[in-house]
């Protein structure tokens, strides 16, 4: 198994197993390899179909500096740092209850309860929830925020009824 690919980075390349990730006092995520280090951000390559694998490390210009195929191959401390970073990078709102879906001119207003708190948002009338490869639904609002419904069957009856028209 090849854990890391060398990214097309002209300055230097970060590769496992020497790659370490650190969360430093400045609040930034640092990628360290031998005596090279730089701040990076993380992005999942397959946020829905394979969220646990293939994590792209990106520099401040959003260019990839390394691709972590298997986070398990990192040392434990780095893995923990990566997981923390992924929580922020992979953040979406998780809907647990739907209170109301109101249709207006060209938009639909959803009032929902999310795991992060109550939220009201709008979708375009012709923007339908997306069925995710691993199950669940993903709704995108007009501002680009994402709302995930992991398990429709776990919703209460009213929520299911309101969602009925939008998902099979």
């Amino acid at each position: 198994m090849k854990p890391t690919v060398y990214a097309p980075c002209v300055e230097y390349e970060l590769a496992q197993p020497q790659l370490r990730l650190e969360h430093r006092i400045d609040g930034q995520l640092w990628a360290v390899k031998e005596d090279h280090e730089r701040t990076v951000s993380v992005r999942r390559c397959f946020p829905w179909s394979e969220p646990a694998r293939f994590v792209s490390l990106r520099d401040k210009d959003d260019k990839e500096v390394a691709l972590i195929r298997q986070p398990e191959s990192l040392d434990e401390a780095s893995r923990e740092v990566l997981e923390r970073a992924l929580v922020e990078a992979g953040f979406v709102l998780h809907i647990v209850q739907i209170y109301e879906v109101e249709e207006e001119v060209e938009i639909r207003t959803w009032k929902v309860e999310t795991m992060q708190g109550p939220r009201t948002f709008q979708t375009r009338l012709d923007d339908w929830p997306r069925e995710l490869p691993g199950g669940g639904l993903l709704i995108r609002d007009v501002a680009g925020d994402l709302y995930h419904i992991a398990d429709r069957d776990a919703l209460d009856d009213k929520s299911k009824r309101l969602l009925w028209a939008f998902a099979d």
Binding site: T109, T114, Q116
Partner: protein, 756 residues
């Protein structure tokens, strides 16, 4: 104006989101006090806390400070301020649905602030990031109004998605009915005719009952002679015939008056809409999809016709009809009348519920239809790829699955309505049966006359249509208000470019163009043009070069006054462009764009577009000068050849030459060439370049080109980067700068040419 927009944006934020419409007043006061009364210039909501839960944290920017505030559990705010000068770096880490903005100080100190926010706050946060980044590069940016910027940034995505937010439905209907005013007479006639139909419809059942009770039975009983009975009967029959005649005549008047009237209103709306569209600025058209605007002028106005012509009258008269029928039935026989009328509200409610259920079914069907059309819009334009990868079977299967799926969903709709309507009719008939059940003993006991009962039965059949219309009223109103919203949104959009009260007409325009410290941004914070100054003499040719996104096209858009500057001034022949008669000024401007736009029509009409009265000799001369005459004559219909939508029947180079001929005939004093030769081959480019050389002589020309060789005739070159002029000079002067931007671009192009 700004205040109105801001109020509207704040209303949108309050109505459509669950976040405050502005920075809380107590927090603003606290922050400003802690800054020595310096004002908050810009702010944003950081709506996620460190544990990524929704929160109301704020970040505010002042002239010298940044403040981050969190609500305290005990009430009030926990405010942390620091000097803007301490910020060494601003970093943004975008995520799937949330981002993290960090303000960093020196390497050995903790981050000055870390802000987490959902995409809804992205625009407001980007404004803050932009201002701080500018500061790091030594440039100061000031915001016009922090409340306006904040509300606009949050309301923006909602406004872009929805036609007219925060509109009141009844207000929209009243406004729509206001369009009937010029046609009052027709409205009165149409409504009177409709009222007449309603009234006379009540007569035949009454006459039937009257005939039975007052003629047939008395004659059968022998209390009335046959002759007298026949006379009364014939009068009644004649009256009935007259009633039907009046009814149908009224129907004809009503249908004609209201349909023609609706068409007049739709015509007025279309005209007003189209005229208003012509006054709107380019920024409006860049925000709205073309299809959406076309729909507003065509099908939305058509739907409004339907509502005005029939909906208004049908709904109001159905209500009158139901009340009238109820009154008549109860007055004929109050017991039977109550049996018949009490269930009516229930029936209306059942129809309303059915409409709700059907609309949810339609929503599902619509979603599934969109999946079918997705396949079509994917595969038909991409058929070459499908075939090249031999994926026909897979695409057929994908289409079939979705086709079957949508059919199932539509059939579900059919099952629903085919069940509901017979069931409703059964309920109506059950009411009739109930009337029979109560009436029969009374008929037999002679406490109810046969005539009254027959009248009663005939009246009951008239209940069904108005019940149906009232039940559908919500849907009718929804459809009409949706369309009206979309139409009024356009009508309510204020043109951003408005002439001064007494605009100056430059006659003639000489073509001197002066930029004096011009700044411009498409929104209130981010500047696309920053403090740009230059002076171009009449007849000069200016080449605009520089990297993409640097602001070249914005410069020419400002010269054409498609937008107004946000700072500084542009002068044409020494006069502020905002004081000049825009229409007259634009007639002095010619544009040749990278993708020339030809309208559906003949080549002749397209060349004459700016000057419809031009003589044929002038058209041919212009086409000759544009190197277009020869190919036009090769077309089977010559200058009378119809070119398709967007001129698709001509090649790119041909369309470009027709557009140059159009510009030559237009004879502009200021000419704008925006990448006029970038999308054609070398031979065509040579032809176009020759034509352009003829076109530019004697005019002030601004030419944007990536291919620097096309600017060899330019008297000066402006190198534009990041909204500023970074170099200015002739070709040879700029080449003489070894580290110059122009020199680098020139060398790169030469290397590419050598490599090729």
């Amino acid at each position: 104006m700004t205040t109105q927009i801001n109020n509207r944006d704040q209303e949108i934020v309050s109505r459509y989101t669950d976040q405050p419409g502005r920075l809380p007043a107590d927090l603003r006061a606290e922050i400003e006090a802690s800054w020595g009364n310096q004002p908050v210039q810009l702010y944003a909501l950081a709506d996620l806390d460190a544990s990524m839960r929704l929160a109301d944290h704020w970040v505010a920017l002042g002239p010298d400070h940044v403040a981050v505030a969190r609500p305290k559990a005990s009430g009030g705010w926990d405010v942390y301020s620091f000097d803007r000068a301490r910020i060494r770096q601003v970093r943004n880490a975008p995520g799937l649905s949330g981002s993290v903005l960090s303000f960093l100080g020196t390497a050995d100190e903790p981050a000055l602030a870390v802000l987490r926010y959902t995409h809804r706050q992205r625009r407001a946060m980007e404004n803050i990031r932009f201002v701080l980044r500018e500061q790091l590069e030594g440039r100061a940016v000031e915001s016009d109004d922090s409340d306006v910027e904040y509300a606009e940034s949050v309301a923006g995505p909602i406004k872009e998605a929805q036609a007219l937010v925060a509109g009141n439905r009844m207000a929209v209907i009243w406004r729509l009915l206001g369009y009937l005013k010029p046609y009052r007479r027709r409205v009165y006639v149409g409504m009177s005719a409709a009222a007449m139909i309603t009234l006379v419809s009540l007569v035949p059942p009454y006459l039937a009952g009257y005939l039975i009770d007052r003629v047939v039975r008395p004659v059968q009983d022998g209390t009335l002679t046959v002759g007298a009975g026949a006379t009364v009967a014939w009068i009644a029959v004649t009256a009935m015939a007259l009633v039907y005649l009046v009814r149908q005549a009224s129907a004809m008047v009503r249908l004609r008056m209201m349909s023609v009237l609706g068409e007049f209103v739709a015509r007025d709306l279309r005209r007003e809409l189209y005229e208003h569209l012509q006054t709107l600025s380019l920024s409006f058209f860049s925000r709205k999809k073309t299809g959406s605007l076309i729909t507003r002028v065509s099908s939305d106005t058509d739907r409004l016709w339907e509502f005005l012509a029939f909906g208004v009258v049908d709904v109001s008269l159905s209500a009158v009809m139901l009340i009238g029928l109820g009154t008549v039935l109860i007055s004929l026989d109050w017991k039977l009348g109550l049996i018949m009328t009490i269930p009516v509200p229930v029936f209306c409610w059942m129809i309303f519920l059915h409409g709700d259920r059907i609309s949810r079914l339609f929503l599902r069907a619509w979603r599934k239809w969109s999946r079918v059309t997705d396949v079509l819009s994917d595969t038909i334009p991409g058929m070459r790829v499908v075939k090249a990868f031999n994926q026909e079977d897979r695409e057929k299967a994908r289409f079939n699955d979705r086709n079957v799926d949508v059919t199932g969903e539509i059939n579900r709709i059919h099952y629903t309505w085919t069940t509901f309507w017979p069931a409703l009719m059964l309920a109506v008939h059950a009411t009739t049966v109930a009337v029979w059940v109560f009436a029969v003993p009374r008929l037999l006991g002679s406490t109810l006359s046969a005539g009254v009962f027959v009248s009663f039965l005939l009246y009951t059949t008239m209940f069904i249509a108005p019940i149906e219309i009232i039940g559908q009223m919500a849907r009718t109103m929804n459809r009409a208000t949706s369309s009206a919203h979309r139409v009024f949104e356009v009508l309510d959009t204020e043109p951003e470019i408005v002439d001064a009260p007494d605009p100056v007409r430059l006659e003639p325009v000489h073509g001197r163009v002066t930029f004096d410290n011009v700044t411009f941004g498409y929104d209130g914070v981010r500047q696309v043009i920053r403090g740009m100054s230059f002076d171009v003499a009449p007849g000069d040719m200016i080449g605009l070069v520089g990297p993409s996104g640097g602001g070249k096209t914005t410069v020419v858009n400002l010269i054409a006054r498609f937008y107004d500057v946000t700072g500084g001034v542009i002068r044409i022949d020494g006069i502020d462009i905002r004081l000049i008669d825009t229409g007259h000024y634009r007639r002095q401007i010619g544009m040749v764009l990278q993708d020339p736009y030809l309208f559906h029509g003949t080549v002749l009409e397209n060349i004459r577009y700016g000057l419809p009265q031009a003589k044929l000799e002038e058209v041919v001369d212009a086409a000759n000068a544009a190197n277009a005459h020869d190919f036009i004559c090769r077309l089977s219909h010559g200058y009378d050849t119809v070119v398709g939508e967007r001129g698709q029947t001509l090649s790119g180079g041909e369309r470009q030459r027709v557009s140059i001929a159009r510009a030559i005939l237009h004879d502009p004093r200021i000419l704008i060439l925006d990448e006029a030769t970038s999308s054609v081959d070398t031979e065509t480019e040579r032809n176009i370049q020759e034509a352009l050389d003829r076109l530019i002589s004697g005019r002030t020309v601004f030419a944007i080109a990536h291919r620097l060789s096309t600017l060899r005739r330019a008297s000066r070159l402006l190198v534009v980067k990041n909204g500023r002029i970074v170099e200015l000079g002739t070709h040879s002067e700029l080449l003489a700068k070894p580290d110059g931007v122009y020199r680098r671009l020139y060398d790169m192009q030469r290397e590419l040419q050598v490599g090729a």
